[in-house]
């Protein structure tokens, strides 16, 4: 497919929020270490790529599976990178104020993160909403923003830079496993149902001359949805398992006589 290269869309509006984020991060966390800055850069890069690469174009009403990849990048990878990019000390100071502390505490409540993270997946895959956000750019922007925000809320109880907001590692694993079951269910439904989950992708309008190519490649709408469901299901769960491994590592690596467990409460 030689047109794949032509699907890059460098005029995407994503540059604007990306620039703002970069500016904000460099101002607030001037003294962030290099690895953290790199993590931030990675998140930013993924964010931009999710829109300007051919993935972004295909996600825009052509391929449900491409939409799902974009969705996962926005909901899981970008927020995770941002979370890891937050330097503990400065963030600690930010959350020292009572109001901020209260917000941090609410976000640390596992039910909140779980509901937001898994809820965002479910909510935006109600057929009418899914179609609407694909066909209408404004709703689409709301959706994408909510993905990143929900993702941040989701990772907060696990990888928050401030220790007191983090769950105990074993509770964190339970949290991740529960979320995994949440997206597994949705993934199973999307994979095996014969109903079109997102009607906007079932009858794509030919605007950029790719539909025929996609069909020829075997990516008919039913195959596409099948693939989308599997994407929603297996990669997030794998990521959650990897995060669980990180938590286990932290747990076993806990310094002797650590008081972290008591502190976390």
């Amino acid at each position: 497919m030689n047109t794949l290269a032509e699907l890059w869309r460098f005029d995407s509006p994503v540059w604007l929020p990306a620039a703002m984020l970069l500016l904000g991060y460099s101002v607030v966390f001037r003294r962030a270490s290099l690895p953290r800055f790199l993590a931030f850069g990675l998140g930013l890069g993924l964010l931009v790529l999710a829109f300007i690469s051919p993935l972004g174009a295909l996600a825009d009403g052509y391929l449900f599976s491409a939409h799902m990849v974009q969705h996962l990048v926005l909901l899981l990878l970008v927020p995770l990178s941002f979370m890891l990019a937050l330097p503990p000390r400065e963030t600690e100071q930010l959350f020292a104020r009572p109001l901020a502390n209260r917000v941090g505490k609410i976000m640390a409540f596992p039910v909140v993160g779980c509901l937001l993270g898994v809820g965002a997946m479910w909510f935006w895959h109600v057929p009418s909403l899914c179609s609407a956000s694909t066909e209408n750019a404004a709703i689409g922007a709301v959706r994408d923003t909510s993905f990143v925000a929900a993702g941040l809320a989701f990772w907060w109880p696990v990888f928050s830079p401030v220790a007191r907001y983090r769950l105990e590692p074993l509770s964190g694993i339970t949290y991740l496993f529960t979320s995994c079951l949440g997206c597994t269910l949705l993934g199973i439904y999307i994979t095996f149902t014969t109903v079109s989950v997102c009607p906007a992708f079932a009858n794509p309008q030919e605007r950029i001359d790719v539909v025929t190519q996609l069909y020829d490649a075997g990516l008919t709408p039913s195959v596409d949805q099948h693939l989308g469901g599997l994407l929603m299901w297996i990669p997030p769960c794998t990521l959650y398992v990897l995060a669980s491994v990180a938590l286990l590592f932290r747990w076993y690596g806990e310094p002797p006589a650590s008081s972290e467990t008591t502190e976390a409460n």
Binding site: T194, G218, T220, V223, H226
Partner: protein, 317 residues
């Protein structure tokens, strides 16, 4: 001559691709086995006579990570070649049930407890127990089940695939050269699962056309007395017609195998008997003694009735 290791003697491009993968993966697994067992044996051998208290070694993350890398790379490699082959073999758009648009199946194979029924869509031919195909041409086969789940497996020619009631599955079936290939039901499907074998018989293009033309004919009116008596038995005096079909006659039931071409088959009863006049008689005399639990009851036919029925069945085209 029947092949001894059908899985290792592929006779179609698809089976050969699977065989190559099998070989590669077995080789990798063999090497892994030798390495792990070798290390273990060395550890045991060197430790067998040690009598001083060994150093208490609690492990090292570095070593653990190091030996994790190798298996990860190996599994990634196996996964990659696996995925490649899955996508090649499934290249027909068969992800979701339903025939791809404009594509008509070349063959319809229907699993029954405990025999296989074969339909050649463009002709009248319906047969049981053996599938005739032309060589060198991939046939698109539609698989259905009349009752429970079966599994269609011709190791030398294609992957196996389940045959499931309520849905259709599709595979490509192809043979490189003429011959007879053993097929079996691989999914447990009840009492006589063991005898649900079938044969795939590959012909050259010409032979296939000849064979098909020969089969595509209706039953003629019997001429000899025994045959006539057998026909009477089949249609009126006994209940054969309630279960079996014969093309060109009023017999159309689909409970037992279609008997139009029964005389030409190589095997009877899903492979339990070679087909011959004596064996057909033996079968009719008491099917339950030969294939206990099969759907055909013992009709307690007299020897004469058996002879007449055999004569009739063997007179069919």
């Amino acid at each position: 001559m029947q092949s001894v290791f059908p899985v290792l003697e592929p006779e179609s491009p698809q089976a050969r691709a699977i065989y190559d993968l099998l070989l590669t993966v077995s080789l990798i697994c063999g090497v892994i086995f030798l390495i792990t067992t070798g290390l273990l044996l060395i550890a045991i051998w060197t430790g067998r006579k040690r009598r001083d208290l060994p150093r208490q070694d609690f492990g090292s993350h570095r070593k653990e990570l190091a030996w994790m890398v190798a298996p990860v790379i190996v599994t990634l490699w196996i996964t990659a070649i696996t995925i490649k082959l899955i996508l090649t073999i499934s290249a027909v758009p068969e992800a979701h049930p339903g025939l791809p648009e404009g594509k008509q199946a070349d063959l319809i194979v229907r699993g029954h407890q405990w025999y296989w029924e074969v339909q050649y869509p463009d002709t009248n031919v319906i047969d049981a127990g053996e599938i005739h195909i032309p060589i060198g041409k991939p046939l698109y086969v539609q698989l259905e089940s009349a009752d429970v789940i079966h599994c269609f497996w011709v190791p030398q020619l294609a992957r196996k695939i389940d045959v499931i009631p309520g849905r259709q599955n599709y595979i490509w079936l192809e043979a490189d050269k003429p011959g007879t290939y053993q097929g079996r039901c691989a999914e447990f499907c009840g009492t006589q699962h063991a005898w649900m074998n079938f044969l795939v018989i590959a012909h050259t293009e010409d032979d296939y056309a000849k064979w098909l033309a020969g089969k595509d004919a209706d039953a003629e009116k019997p001429k000899v007395t025994d045959e006539e008596a057998g026909e009477r038995l089949f249609f009126t005096e006994q209940t054969c017609v309630n279960c079996h079909a014969i093309q060109g006659t009023t017999a159309t039931a689909d409970i037992g195998p279609n008997l139009t071409h029964v005389a030409r088959r190589k095997q009877l009863g899903g492979g339990i008997l070679e087909n011959s006049t004596e064996n057909l008689a033996l079968w009719l005399k008491n099917p339950q003694a030969i294939k206990p639990g099969c759907k055909m009851p013992n009709f307690k036919l007299t020897d004469e009735q058996v002879r007449q029925l055999v004569a009739y069945l063997e007179s069919l085209p």
